[in-house]
Symmetry: C2
Subunit: 142 residues, 2 copies
């Protein structure tokens, strides 16, 4: 699977952990940032991911990381082709895919342990959208 | 404080719990839904809140509730005058207000206990925005 991943400085370390853990299973497009110490604004990193998911025909999923996940999820959801789900555990992740057909997973690097984050990533790509009554609601998100 | 609150069927019971707990401290505009059994689409309930926060000059904050909080947070953040923070504990809530100047709190009624939800609501209205370097980022969310 081709996955775009984008983080601000607070999400930089977790981005590397995720790529290292899953690079044998997925192809990652790393949109930065490239430093844990130089400050990057989370809205810019969300916009980069939105551009990549619009322009790169291979990429259908994304991951967004900032300190809490909150800011980068707000910024990502400004783009109507993204359905960004901010999750803190695998239960939320499974609902995000099954009911909301989320195409972007947002995680708060300073709020959850990296083991939880890795489980969330695995669950995100494991769970399918259920469709049915959920499809009508998802269509209203465009 | 004047607060608009809007929920789908999955958030109906928690909406009533929140209003009952805080009605002596805050003025709530209850935008429904009015049933836990009749199905409502979460995007419609988010749109109602967006309309109220645009048109009602007294309301500067909102609360959105659905099963996971994920769908209604995506729908709410389609509206650029809303900064919807989906939170699962008070740490996330405080960061949402302090760093993101979130004006809407989203909660997952089927994922967190009602005591946690009530603490989240209290923390949301207790924490101030810190401004400073965070203001430049928040401005990029409009």
């Amino acid at each position: 699977m081709h996955i775009a991943i984008s983080a601000d400085h607070a999400g930089y370390d977790l981005k590397n952990v995720i790529i290292s853990a899953y690079q044998n299973q997925h192809e990652f497009l790393d949109l930065g940032t490239d430093s844990a110490t130089e400050r990057y604004d989370y809205p810019d990193q969300a916009d980069k991911l939105a551009d990549a998911m619009r322009d790169d025909g291979l990429i259908s999923f994304g991951i967004l990381l900032c300190g809490s996940g909150i800011g980068i999820a707000i910024a990502g959801n400004r783009h109507r082709h993204l359905r960004v789900a901010l999750c803190h555990d695998t239960t939320a992740v499974r609902l995000a895919r099954a009911h909301n057909n989320a195409n972007v997973l947002a995680l708060g690097a300073r709020l959850i342990d990296e083991n939880v984050a890795l489980d969330c990533v695995a669950a995100f790509f494991d769970q399918q959208f259920e469709g049915g009554r959920h499809l009508a609601r998802v269509k209203k998100l465009y």
